[in-house]
């Protein structure tokens, strides 16, 4: 077995040689050490370039992280930040709010990453954190609404009907879809967002939402049925 060349793709089967971990005895002796304290066996591998790190798989980066190289977390964040931001945006439809929430998700992931067991893919694991976080936030919002005697759902439906009542050429499809999603209960909304916007499989959604496969199927079909109902004029437009 040989060390992969810089820039070459690192796969999970190459785990024993992944970046950031301490060198084994077969590492060539020309590698210079720069930190004597971190030496255990022989020497330390030179840190790969940013380009190499960017091309490394999630698993390789996590292994490096778990071995003590916390700097590689940056590449995990950069790789997944847009998916998480978009997921949260689809759920909340609030541009100002989602950045803070996304930060909280990545902080939570940073804290939990040392305990990551590679039983699921990193992004489904990250999605699970994001979904749990968004569930907590929705619960808080619901509580705040309850104490301020507001009924948000009524407001959304009213706005949807108002926007659908204009001529088809004046309709803002994106806004209508977003409002339609907002009108769904949290469980159905998350399921349909994960399926139709993020493109996750039923199995992945079951893992993210921590529920049975049958429940996922049911939630997705219920969500679509509700959306068909509220967005009927929009769906009939082209059909």
């Amino acid at each position: 077995m040989a060390l992969p060349l810089p820039g070459a793709e690192w796969s999970s089967k190459d785990k024993p040689y992944q970046i950031g971990v301490r060198a084994r005895s077969f590492v060539p002796s020309f590698t210079k050490t720069n930190d004597a304290r971190s030496m255990t066996n022989d020497q330390i591998l030179p840190k790969p370039s940013v380009d190499v790190l960017r091309k490394m798989s999630d698993e390789a980066l996590i292994t490096a992280f778990q071995s003590g190289d916390h700097d590689v977390y940056r590449f995990l964040v950069e790789r997944h930040q847009e998916r998480i931001r978009n997921l949260l945006f689809s759920i909340f439809h609030d541009r100002d709010f989602i950045d803070d929430l996304a930060q909280e998700v990545f902080i939570k992931a940073y804290q939990a990453l040392p305990r990551f067991r590679f039983e699921a893919s990193f992004y489904t694991w990250l999605y699970r954190i994001a979904v749990n976080k968004s569930r907590d936030e929705l619960r808080k919002k619901k509580l705040r609404r309850f104490f301020s005697f507001q009924t948000l759902d009524e407001g959304i439906e009213k706005e949807l009907n108002m926007r659908l009542s204009v001529p088809p050429e004046d309709r803002d499809t994106q806004e209508l879809v977003a409002l339609g999603l907002q009108s769904l209960p949290e469980k159905f909304r998350t399921a349909v967002v994960l399926k139709d916007i993020d493109g996750l499989s039923y199995e992945e959604i079951a893992e993210v939402m921590q529920c049975e496969l049958g429940t996922v199927k049911s939630r997705i079909s219920r969500a679509r049925s509700m959306l068909r109902k509220v967005l009927k004029p929009l769906l009939e437009e082209v059909v």
Binding site: E82, N86, I98, A178, V239
Partner: protein, 428 residues
């Protein structure tokens, strides 16, 4: 297919558009769709919905996200670092350890509960024994016992009470109209009051038999209150009820209140002739009834509070003492108590205060100062509190004659009088 309800149909078609059905199921659905227009419409709508959702606008990539996140992460780390006294990775282990310790300790407590109960019960009994030993068996004794009518009258009228016949040492309580009260123990021959007996009082004031009976009861009550207001203990400890001067004034007021206006004039003459510190002011007020008088007299020190003085320190604390049982105990062992009291008294009179006057912050500023033969406790009571006391109607502090000759009679003179007295005591 026809037997399916709406929900089942939705679920089937939803999976059909997702390509989740088996080939056989797909064939069945498609043959059904060929026949059912509304189902076909539904599938079209579902596909359109999927397209709309898939084409939902994405957010513009945020290039500054990492920078902001890195700052937030650093802050989070700092917060955690300041909250936890150990690295975060030890949290689970430490939590498990703490839980284990709690479980073990809880189990031990439950298993050995009888021993614990016994231990606390013994502790409680020990506290009781200490109390009985210290209070009931003479560790803390009333400085005055068997205060008779003459001594009670002497105290009421002049605020002085001889500790014993031999040492010529007196307890003196007096009040400063502005600042509060002073309690003194020491030899002070200059200010020594003239001896006053109950018979002398009767001869001068000439009360009726009813009044005499009433005053008799008042003096008995005064004696009891004096007994329970000044206590001495081992190690030169002394406890004085801070409301003792109240008692002095209260009793003079009550004696005056028992008397008719003409008798009160006689009483005022008696006070003046003996240079008593009080003067009767409301001479024309008719005599009060006995039950109203006795209502005003507290049976024990207020809130069981005492100023406790030791050679080293002074504090203001509550002492819960059952004086009735203490008296009974003393009556049963008179000789022993008298000997012990005498020994304590000797030490008390010869006491030496090491510290300069000091203040106590709550509830009343109190000062204590003295030398080998004299010590004084000064209790500063706010003026409002003095004014609230109902007996002021009849009795007012008397302005001493020698002071009257040199200055106008006002409150400041009263204060000066007391400062003079204090300085005399201190310089001696």
């Amino acid at each position: 297919m026809k037997k399916m309800n709406e929900q089942q149909m939705d679920r089937l078609l939803s999976q059909y558009v997702d390509g989740r059905l088996s080939e056989i199921e797909v064939q069945k659905v498609e043959s059904f769709l060929a026949l059912d227009t509304s189902a076909r419409q539904r599938v079209k709508e579902l596909r359109r919905l999927k397209d709309l959702l898939a084409s939902k606008q994405k957010l513009v990539p945020d290039i500054g996200f990492w920078t902001r996140f890195a700052v937030a992460l650093e802050e989070q780390k700092k917060d955690e670092h300041s909250l936890l006294p150990f690295p975060r990775k030890f949290v689970p282990a430490i939590t498990i350890m703490v839980a284990a310790v709690v479980v073990v300790a809880g189990t031990l407590v439950i298993q050995n509960r009888m021993q614990f109960i016994q231990y606390f019960s013994e502790k409680s009994q020990a506290v009781r024994k200490v109390y009985e030993k210290n209070v009931l068996q003479g560790q803390l004794l009333p400085l005055f016992s068997k205060v008779d009518k003459d001594r009670a009258l002497q105290f009421s009228l002049f605020g002085t009470l001889a500790l014993d016949d031999k040492s010529k040492t007196e307890l003196r309580v007096d009040e400063q109209s502005k600042k509060g009260y002073r309690i003194e123990v020491g030899k002070d021959s200059k200010n020594k009051a003239k001896p006053m007996t109950f018979n002398h009082f009767l001869a001068e004031v000439k009360p009726t038999s009813g009044q005499k009976h009433l005053i008799d009861s008042l003096l008995e009550l005064t004696g009891r209150r004096i007994e329970s207001s000044v206590l001495i203990g081992e190690n030169n400890t002394m406890a004085i009820a801070p409301d003792l001067p109240n008692l002095n004034r209260l009793m003079v007021t009550n004696i005056a209140a028992c008397l008719e206006p003409n008798q009160r004039v006689q009483f005022e003459r008696l006070l003046e002739a003996n240079d008593a510190p009080y003067t009767v002011t409301a001479q024309s007020v008719p005599a009060r009834k006995g039950d109203r008088i006795f209502q005003n007299i507290p049976q024990s020190p207020r809130d069981n509070r005492f100023v406790i003085i030791t050679p080293d320190t002074m504090m203001y604390s509550q002492l819960h003492i059952d004086f009735d049982s203490l008296r009974r105990h003393m009556e049963e062992n008179v000789v022993m108590f008298e000997l012990r009291r005498e020994a304590m008294l000797k030490r008390m009179i010869a006491r030496e205060f090491q510290h300069a006057p000091r203040n106590l912050p709550w509830p009343q500023p109190v000062q204590s100062f003295g030398n080998e033969e004299f010590f004084s406790v000064e209790i500063n009571v706010p003026v409002e509190e003095i004014e609230q006391q109902q007996m002021r109607v009849i009795i007012q502090p008397r302005i001493r004659k020698q002071i009257l000759q040199t200055a106008a009679p006002n409150h400041s003179i009263q204060v000066r009088t007391w400062r003079d007295t204090a300085s005399e005591g201190l310089t001696r």
